[in-house]
Amino acid sequence: MSFINGVLLLGGVLLFVSVLASTLTARLGLPLLLLFLVVGMLAGEEGVGGIVFHDFSTTMLVAQLALAVILLDGGLRTRASTLRVAFKPAATLATLGVVATALVLGVFATWLFGVDWRIGLLLAAIVGSTDAAAVFSLLRNSGVRLNDRVKSTLEIESGANDPMAILMVTVMVQMIMNPGERDGWAYGVMLLQQLAFGALTGLLGGWILAALLARLRLAEGLYALLIVSGGLMVFAATNMIGGSGFLAIYLAGLMIGNRRCHATEHVLRVMDGLAWLSQAGMFLALGLLVTPSHVFDHAPRALAMAFFLMLVARPAAVWLCLLKQRFAPNEVAYISWVGLRGAVPIVLAIYPLMMGVPHSLLLFEVAFAVVIVSLLVQGSTVPVAARLLKVVVPPRNEPVDRVEVWVGRNETLDLMEYRVGHLSRAEGMQPDSFVEREAGPEARCAAVLRHGKAVPLNRATRMREGDAVWLIAPDEMAERLAEAFAPGRENELSANAGFFGEFTVAADCPAGDLATAYGLALEDGEAALPLASLLIRRLGRHAVEGDRVSIGAFELTVRHLNSRGEIDKIGLKCPTALPMLRL
């Protein structure tokens, strides 16, 4: 009994410390994952905890479970609409990109460590894929809003490239352990089978789970458990029939998340915590497992590997994959930079260890070091690099909180919380007349809270700065209402005029009319096009918010897209006179 209690106490303490410390990392701008890793290492054999833990198979179990849950959560939160702009580039990066990265890095590793080329390539394959946990959590908590094309490409890539890396590792291990047993064809078939089975079972499983979710009546907390257990079933079953379980569970999540029903909100809330717990558990276990001093033994060469990966192998692979996809150079640069490595490489490095591959301890320790360097260097610069490379778009006005109340099988009420900003349009207004003016009859004010206490609503009630206001309003009004609550702009006339331009023009007005109004020259055949089509033609790709096109001295910026991904507002920016005066 005392052993069990000891384990439980230890687990409790580690998690407790991690939760408390997580409030710190946000302030320090360090990735949370690194913190878990450090807490694990501190508790480990060379830290203050002094716990000796070398159980690779337990770690493997924890890590597989955690990765599955993280990918499920990632899938649930990926909007199908983002696939439109990001599917092709992400799919290329997740397949060709992984192979290209591994080949370039493999040559370097073989030379650097002076090992057999197969070992070098194995090492490269281990660190070949970006990590979903790291990418999702770092992009979402970075505090900047990335351009949709870049964000979705990175997220979908990270969710979909693990199967490829796992496959490469499996192939390399087999080639090292049983050379000459299988030929290239067999590996190709294996890859196709992994992808095909993974996609098939994932989509099918997701469809069934989504249908169940919509029909079953369960206690609130059970919906998420239904999805997690169902997801794990899909994951394990797919692995057993020779498909990629990771791909399957990601796709299952995607299916469920995009068929919203009365239970989706509960599922997402619980999944939030579960995904967090998975990341914490996995990185704690990995931190415990590693012997830090061994990692430092290889420090110079591991650093060389990490920097070669970040600065040469990944950029080369990304550039190659995106060559034909019409990404802007700054977008390619950013996608290259955010090739975050995380738990997957460490987990993959355990395979060769368990299989008894020569030099496998070296592989494990180098992989570990590469991950730490990646999290430290790339992870902490996610927001800085985004601003530097100009892939950020202004934050969207959003409610502080949003609760979906399902009042019928297909009927919802959206409850939204807003905070009254300084000098906002809402400040000083009577709540009902404010709602009437901003949103019309479809919205209603449910409550106004001041210092946490409800304010009685009557004709004399006035909203003050800092009040929390709860409104019942249709989802599509959320953004417009948020604008009305946003703090007033002292030296800007409208929201983000500096980014989008002072004027807004309609997307469907003929480009020729704009050219006539300003005396601009267009290319042949462009005058008859609506402005939106002209933009897409000049961009040569699906547009995302923040895309820019210059016509003469004018700059047109995509300001807003509707739910079908069509441009509906375009910002017009005049060149500022100041640079001219400097000449």
């Binding site: 349009r425 901003e438 604008e483 009305a484 702009r489 002292e490 030296n491 800007e492 006339l493 409208s494 929201a495 005029a497 002072e502 004027f503 807004t504 023009v505 309609a506 007005c509 009319d513 704009l514 006539t516 109004a517 300003y518 005396g519 601009l520 003469g552 001295a553 004018f554 375009i570 017009l572 005049c574 060149p575 500022t576 006179a577 100041l578 001219m580 005066l581 400097r582």
Partner: protein
């Protein structure tokens, strides 16, 4: 040197204009330009309205800069209107507009056109400047505000260089 000060004669600043809609304001603008600068009122009206069809020239915070190109115009011309009651303008922030700077430029001068617009937008972005013209007692005070802001700004620019 401010570009704006040159094209806004004191006579082209109007306060407390009574107008019930965007259309009425444009008609008033046409009338003023016809009387003061001899530009045909229908041409002014048509040009401003054609631009407005592309999207509102309202900037937010009650400000709008209607503008257009006029055939045969020699020099850019401007007029400022402060309305007695705000009119609906489809501005990005949804607020009705009560201060308008109407800008007319020669047909061939498109570089200048854009620079003028940019300078106007910059000027109206300044909260102090907006406050000053909102509170100005009469047309003359507003005219002074436009002319003097230009010199302040060019001082700042010189200082920055």
């Amino acid at each position: 040197m401010s570009l704006i000060a040159d094209l806004l004669p004191a006579a082209n600043v109007v306060v407390d204009l009574e107008a019930s809609s965007k259309k009425r304001v444009f008609e008033q603008a046409g009338l003023l330009f016809e009387n003061n600068q001899g530009i045909s009122r229908s041409e002014v009206f048509d040009s401003l309205f054609a631009r407005e069809r592309l999207g509102s020239t309202g900037l937010g915070q009650g400000i709008a800069i209607p503008h257009g190109r006029i055939k045969g115009l020699q020099e850019a011309a401007g007029a400022f209107f402060r309305l007695a009651t705000p009119v609906q303008f489809d501005a990005p922030d949804g607020r009705p507009v009560d201060m308008l700077f109407v800008l007319l430029v020669p047909e061939q001068a498109n570089e200048q056109h854009l620079q003028l617009l940019s300078e106007l937008a910059q000027r109206f972005s300044d909260a102090d400047f907006r406050e000053r013209i909102t509170k100005a007692a009469d047309a003359e005070a507003i005219h002074t505000a436009f002319v003097s802001w230009g010199s302040d700004a060019s001082d700042q620019r010189r200082a920055a260089v």
